[in-house]
């Protein structure tokens, strides 16, 4: 079982008059098979938090502690744009992030490509795929290292509504089957309510303002009354915190 502990996390960019606070004393404790969404307005430090957790950026102060079942495991990451190597085939893109280049790794990559319905596209280059397919490859890549923890940074925001919806369903299925701890950044409250057990609300200046538990059964249909009510509650919270204006 994976656990993410964040204590007094603080991050600033720039110095003097240019100083910008991206995250202010964030404390978090996330454990087990949960899907946690991080919502908030642009520039509230959502992506910065993921970048620090994944090691792309370093914190100004505070500690981050990620415990996973296998000690040498690396968290998976799905980015806003797919970030595939354009000069490598789809299969090679998945193999690029594997620790070993053996048959076992290849079979595992193939299994996750099958899971995102791109099993027959392994030898294509990313440029030959549509935006939705590329994002699917990005998802398969993150799952293919079989991490306990998965970070996702607005992975569906570049896609059209229909593609995004079908990918959300696929993602939910994969999360259910693989029992991962997912940290999912989004600015779409509806998406957060549809997918998550917990929603963390961030405000401008990188403050964690609220931690909402969404206690509804899966799968959730956005047109369901209960889901619509939950979405309205989160939006009301946004209004209380004056986040909609920003």
């Amino acid at each position: 079982m994976a656990e993410i502990k964040v204590k007094n996390l603080h991050k600033e960019f720039g110095v003097g008059d240019d100083r910008v606070v991206a995250l202010e004393n964030v404390n978090l404790d996330i454990e087990g098979h949960v899907f946690v969404s991080i919502v908030g307005p642009s520039g509230c430090g959502k992506s910065t938090l993921l970048n620090i957790l994944s090691g792309i950026e370093t914190a100004s102060s505070g500690t981050v502690d990620i415990t996973q079942d296998s000690h040498d495991a690396n968290p998976g990451y799905v980015f806003q744009a797919a970030r595939l190597l354009p000069w490598r085939s789809v299969m090679e893109n998945l193999m690029f992030v594997q620790k070993e280049r053996d048959d076992e790794a290849r079979a595992r990559c193939q299994r996750y490509l099958d899971m995102v319905q791109l099993g027959d596209k392994g030898d294509k280059f990313p440029g030959e795929l549509s935006g939705g397919m590329q994002q699917r490859v990005g998802i398969a890549r993150a799952f293919s290292i079989e991490p306990d923890v998965l970070f996702m940074d607005e992975p569906f925001s570049h896609l059209d509504a229909i593609t995004a919806r079908s990918l959300r369903r696929e993602l939910h299925e994969m999360w259910k089957q693989t029992k991962k701890t997912v940290l999912f950044v989004t600015h779409d409250v509806g998406e957060a309510v549809e997918l998550s057990n917990r929603i963390l609300v961030f405000a401008k200046g990188g403050k964690l303002e609220d931690d909402i538990t969404v206690d509804l059964p899966f799968p959730r249909d956005p047109s369901d009354d209960a889901v619509a009510v939950a979405k309205a509650q989160v939006l009301r919270k946004f209004e209380e915190l004056d986040l909609l204006a920003t």
Partner: protein, 306 residues
């Protein structure tokens, strides 16, 4: 577009295809050439068949440029020039890549070299040829090789520097987030992202270095293709001047078709082809809006007159 989708398009008749236009071009040139010859009626301006006859005699060693010591036929001249070209090109590539990498990585190194690179770029090849001729004298290989290096190296430096500046940060971040080791990142991210720029550097260094080299052979050497052109110029033989220039063009085209294009094809097969344009890496450069490369284009145009 996939290959299957391209094959399903209706077939275009031969005369409307780009390949037909390509074949038409040399025919049009020869027709215009004859027209000018008949209109001028000059003994100095010779018709195509005389030039081709001259070229045939050179190829079959019917004629020789001089008796006695030293290189005297087409193959020897050509061999000398090609050896000089490859030597100058190799040095320009190695030194230029090192300086370009350093300029791309460090602002201080960039500030140190920038003005000098621009100065070398702005200097006409003719001036290098005259200067190197004075320094090294007309014997030996030094003046042509140095001219080739000086003409080509700024293009290598600028292209490599732009390549380093355009490395895809988001892909490096992705690799780091997945904990990929550095040597694997270098092989799979850094080098492939530099490839289009290195290819552009190779092409520029070759074509511009070649011009610098020949000008140096005209003014500062007693052998090579440039010297042969000068020889026929002094003899008032247009066929010799044009004939040797055409050998030259044939070599450049052969190099492009037999070496650069297949290499580019292999290295950039991941890029979807744009229409019938074979030079995919240049399209990539335009996508990346490399100002340096555009500057370079202009300078190439200016220098070919030198």
């Amino acid at each position: 577009m996939t290959a299957a989708a391209m094959d399903s398009r209706p077939r275009v008749p031969f005369y409307r295809r780009p390949v037909a236009a390509r074949i038409l071009m040399p025919i049009a040139v020869i027709v215009v050439w004859y027209l000018v010859y008949w209109t001028l009626g000059s003994r100095i301006f010779e018709p195509p068949h005389r030039v081709f006859e001259f070229m045939w005699n050179e190829l079959t060693l019917e004629t020789r440029l001089r008796n006695g010591k030293g290189p005297s036929n087409l193959y020897q001249m050509f061999g000398l020039t090609v050896v000089r070209l490859f030597a100058g090109f190799a040095i320009a590539m190695v030194v230029g890549t090192v300086i370009g990498l350093a300029m791309g990585l460090s602002k201080s190194v960039n500030a140190f070299f920038h003005d000098w690179v621009m100065a070398v770029l702005a200097m006409p090849a003719l001036v290098w040829a005259l200067f190197l001729g004075l320094v090294f004298g007309p014997q030996g290989n030094q003046a042509p090789i140095y001219a080739c290096i000086l003409a080509g190296i700024p293009f290598v430096i600028i292209n490599v520097r732009e390549g380093v500046r355009n490395t895809p940060k988001e892909l490096f971040d992705m690799a780091r987030a997945f904990g990929v080791p550095q040597n694997k990142i270098t092989r799979n991210v850094l080098l492939p992202s530099l490839m289009p720029f290195l290819f552009a550097a190779v092409r520029y260094a070759f074509s511009v270095g070649w011009k610098g080299l020949v000008i140096a052979e005209v003014f500062a050497s007693d052998s090579g293709m440039g010297w042969a052109i000068k020889f026929w110029y002094d003899a008032h033989q247009t066929r010799g001047v044009i004939g040797y220039a055409l050998f030259f063009v044939a070599f450049a085209l052969a190099l492009e078709k037999l070496l650069f294009e297949p290499l580019a094809e292999k290295a950039f097969k991941w890029r979807p082809r744009v229409g019938d344009v074979g030079v995919v890496e240049e399209q990539f450069l335009l996508d990346q809006t490399v100002e340096g490369a555009l500057e370079v284009e202009q300078f190439t145009g200016g220098e070919s007159d030198g």
